[in-house]
Symmetry: C2
Subunit: 206 residues, 2 copies
Amino acid sequence: MKRSLKNRRRRTRAPAFSDAATAILDVAERLAQTRGYNGFSYADIAARLGVTKASLHYHFPSKEELGRALIERYEAAFAAALDAIDQATGEPRQRLRRYVALYDGVMRNERMCLCGMLAAEHSTLPRAMQGELQRFFDMNERWLAHLLQEGRRSGLFSFRESASGRARIILSALEGAMLVARSYSDPRRFRVAAGHVLDGVGARGR
Amino acid sequence: MKRSLKNRRRRTRAPAFSDAATAILDVAERLAQTRGYNGFSYADIAARLGVTKASLHYHFPSKEELGRALIERYEAAFAAALDAIDQATGEPRQRLRRYVALYDGVMRNERMCLCGMLAAEHSTLPRAMQGELQRFFDMNERWLAHLLQEGRRSGLFSFRESASGRARIILSALEGAMLVARSYSDPRRFRVAAGHVLDGVGARGR
DNA sequence: GTCTATAGGTGGATAGAC
DNA sequence: GTCTATCCACCTATAGAC
């Protein structure tokens, strides 16, 4: 009963990768976010880095291990971004706006959320990766639900369903907006939809 | 100036396929909706039908042609379903509920919207398929926008943005809800999110 | 750590017999 | 229309030299 309840979310330790491994992950991440896990190969990564396929296997023996590392690193970075938001401001509407801005940044990079992309390929992924996907979405929903609950208590947000229900809606809407916007190669499509997500809880106000 | 304005949407003629071609498309469609376009092969289809890969190429010489046929047939079937809704009832809330039920039926089949799935793989698809994808989403948005406009005029729906803006939000939210629900293999997740889409315009009734 | 070389498998696609 | 047989490109992965 004595353990601190603060920051109990931090279960995702950012793994330490060598410079070479980091370079591989950077390239693989971009490829996975634009083409999907089944849409890129070791050859693609090797070509972009100017090395051979074999050397990649030294750092990531199998593609499954590479895929797991991708999700783990992505989730850790996302968790850090959420912490940064929490520490920058306590104002709920601003925190929600910054959350949406995270996704907007991904789109502006002509990518899609890594985990949204992998969700489409879910049934073709190794079991371990499937489990990590859920953890990512769970983390997002928990963070959002907490924020929504707090904002509603202080009269800033307004919505009928439960906070976690609304969190799911927001997450789904953002992922879906990215998905559809990709077919039009138009990030503005995402931005407009994202704005209405904020309106939905009464959080757009400047 | 004399041409009828009724049914001017019908640009998608349902192509006639032989029995064998239809059987191939049925299997390919299920595979594409569960595993993605890059996630299945001619070998997968052939195995499930008990024929050889070579015979598939007689009906669909290349995978790109197969992919195009998949989207065209899917879009035609969807357009027919929208027409059926329009003819069954003119009541806007009911029509919107039936629209959402279309997507729910897809999820209940343990699939995801074909075009939502393909949207994730967008950048890896042949150009022709990319164009057809947009047409599918455009058709959905036009139908929804028209319905929303009508419902708002009669005081049944309420939303702040333009009808086409709201149509995009609804489409994105439904596609996103399917996407995320897949990671949990839980269609109920979709159904709850879909219900809130209806609430969003005041259409849940009852 | 990175290389060359290669294994063993699967991808889409074609030729030609039946 | 469906088959057998085959092609070549590409996939993930490994062995072993440097």
